[in-house]
């Protein structure tokens, strides 16, 4: 498979702070998604971003496919941002496998009021 490493594993912030989460991957990809798993376990898709930059409100993401990493930015964090953030990738090129996503172990974010 493809290796996906996320950092940091844990992040504690005060409300209003900004943060950057990183995802490194070991091979070329044609699909990269960021997910937020809320404290109730629900997985919410944040971004589909195999390359380039996207923004959605206080969240933005950038993927530099040639250097095999992606960044998720959270600005002005709120307590509702707490949870686990996962990066998931699908291997690209000749190794592409029909939507099979490989997940990192996630970043546990805790935002205090």
């Amino acid at each position: 498979g493809i290796q996906v490493e996320q950092s940091p594993p844990d992040l504690i912030l005060q409300e209003g702070a900004n943060s950057t989460l990183r995802c490194n991957f070991s091979d070329s990809v044609n699909n990269l998604q960021w997910f937020h798993q809320n404290p109730w376990g629900q997985l919410i898709n944040l971004f589909y971003i195999p390359s380039g930059t996207k923004q959605n409100g206080r969240l933005s993401a950038t993927t530099v496919a040639t250097e095999r990493y992606s960044l998720l930015y959270i600005s002005s964090s709120q307590t509702t941002d707490s949870g686990v953030y996962f990066c998931a990738v699908e291997r690209g090129g000749r190794g592409s496998t029909l939507g099979r996503l490989y997940f990192g172990r996630g970043t546990q974010l805790t935002v205090w009021p």
Binding site: N30, N31, Q33, G41, L43, A88, L98, G99, G104, R105
Partner: protein, 113 residues
């Protein structure tokens, strides 16, 4: 649209018992997936399906079976439950396979004692 629904939400099984985890999507998606999430880990793919009547193994298929008789339903069967199958199970779907956003159900928490 209800999206992806899963039943039951929570189940306790004894070793050796069998059960079926149900998954239904109402988005007319062709592709469906089953993942498991162990504590502190990312998700791992168990099985996936590219359409009715077509299924294939993922990373961790041992101890599980699937079927896909309709576009909407993708049940996951555990024949002889083992403690190693204690996990949270997520079903997901996408319209296509490669390079598509996957949408996740709320999960089924399974405890095998």
């Amino acid at each position: 649209n209800a999206g992806v629904t899963q039943t039951p939400k929570f189940r306790i099984l004894k070793i050796g018992q069998s059960m079926t985890l149900q998954c239904t999507q109402d988005m007319n998606h062709n592709y469906m997936y089953w993942y498991r999430q162990d504590p502190g880990m990312g998700l791992k793919l168990i099985y996936y399906s590219v359409g009715a009547g077509i299924t294939d193994k993922g990373e961790v298929p041992n101890g599980y079976n699937v079927s896909r008789s309709t576009t909407e339903d993708f049940p996951l069967r555990l024949e002889l439950a083992a403690p190693s199958q204690t996990s949270v199970y997520f079903c997901a779907s996408s319209w296509g396979g490669k390079q598509e956003t996957q949408y996740f159900g709320p999960g089924t928490r399974l405890l095998v004692l």
